[in-house]
């Protein structure tokens, strides 16, 4: 498989950013996030502007470096990409790599895995989150929202990539 750049968002002074008109020509999607926020906060995802609360669920494994936790949660019209606040603000970044499988398939609910983390020299947080969007629609729009409504600030960057499989081997 091969990975291709689709779009990059660099939000500044706004609490949400959206990838729209996502092409349906790839098999999977990958998002790389480097996020700075005006206030300590997490990040939420919404797909295709679907606000039906029961369509979103998350399970995950997380750690602050002092303890580990597991969690699962249904959400309300969005789902957490990362939930730890306090390890990310206007000067300290939080990073994430998010993989969305079979995003253009129209017969499967959408699943995705996220590795998100931030370190602050003696403190930090990391999360492995597994998300479900219980909807078989092809994903054409992804909104990334600040969970407390604070603003993303420069140099925040959300980059969207498409992953294609080989026409020769299917790999």
């Amino acid at each position: 498989m091969s990975m291709f750049p689709i779009a990059t968002l660099t939000p500044n002074g706004v609490s949400s950013a959206a990838f729209t008109n996502i092409p349906q020509t790839f098999t999977h999607l990958i998002i790389h996030a480097t996020a700075f926020s005006a206030a300590a906060s997490g990040a939420l995802a919404n797909f295709n502007s679907d606000s039906v609360a029961t369509n979103y669920a998350r399970s995950g494994l997380s750690s602050t470096g002092a303890a580990v936790q597991n969690s699962s949660a249904a959400a309300s019209g969005t789902t957490y990409i990362w939930s730890y606040a306090g390890f990310q603000d206007a000067t300290t970044p939080y990073g994430a790599v998010m993989t969305i499988l079979d995003y253009s398939n129209t017969t499967k609910n959408k699943v995705m895995r996220i590795y998100a983390a931030g370190d602050r020299n003696g403190a930090g947080g990391m999360e492995m989150n597994y998300l479900l969007w219980e909807n078989t629609a092809a994903i054409t729009r992804i909104d990334i929202l600040n969970d407390i409504g604070s603003n993303w600030v420069t140099p925040t960057r959300f980059s969207l990539y498409g992953v294609s499989v080989s026409s020769a081997t299917g790999a």
Binding site: T34, R120, G122, G124
Partner: protein, 190 residues
């Protein structure tokens, strides 16, 4: 993951640009370093398969970003690891010279078993903010195995120009066959 544009009819360019790949061929190498990294990409992505000579089951591997003029001890980590037979453990480091990016099998582990590392350095060429990194590592054998995740931070604002995969020891070496490959991750317009 393939790293070059595929040879099909599309004119699209791949996002992963191979910058360098090194295989250890002798018994005296403690570090694989990629230097003079151009500030042309958005992120860096490194894959490594390594094993060390130390006489223990596993040993820390340091995947560390640098640039000339880096302040002293700017590296730190938040860590979550598992041996496969114990519950997850959590720990941190602060004010270090290197990033504790995971554990590689060593002389006390099953022979010819290498540990796999995936490492991302995000926004590496930015010159106004600290640099975050993520790593995921694992190795397994019939009787043992370990895995973990590490968040790293380089508390410095300069663009990263060197990435080192190291044992950080003059007496612990990477075994021949250990390999590291570094990619630049392009975004649109790069």
């Amino acid at each position: 993951m393939p790293i070059v544009p595929f040879a099909g009819p599309s004119t699209a360019k791949g996002a992963l640009v191979p910058l360098g790949s090194t295989v250890v061929t002798n018994t005296t190498t403690a570090e694989i370093a990629f230097s003079n990294i151009p500030a042309l990409y958005t992120d860096l992505y490194l894959q490594a398969a390594v094993r060390t000579t130390e006489s223990v089951v596993s040993r820390t591997i340091y995947i560390t970003p640098f640039y000339s003029g880096l302040p002293a001890q700017p590296q730190s980590n938040t860590m979550m690891d598992q041996t496969g037979v114990t519950t997850l453990t959590a720990s941190r480091t602060s004010n270090q010279d290197g990033q504790f990016s995971g554990l590689a099998p060593s002389a006390g582990a099953a022979p010819d078993t290498f540990g796999t590392f995936e490492w991302w350095c995000l926004n590496y060429a930015n010159t106004t903010n600290f640099k975050p990194s993520l790593s995921r590592w694992y190795w397994t054998s019939p009787a043992a195995g370990q895995q973990g995740w590490r968040a790293g931070l380089t508390r410095a604002n300069g663009a990263i120009t060197t990435v080192s995969v190291s044992t950080f020891s003059g007496s612990v070496f990477l075994v021949p066959g250990s390999r590291a490959t570094l990619f630049g991750v392009r975004t649109v317009g790069q």
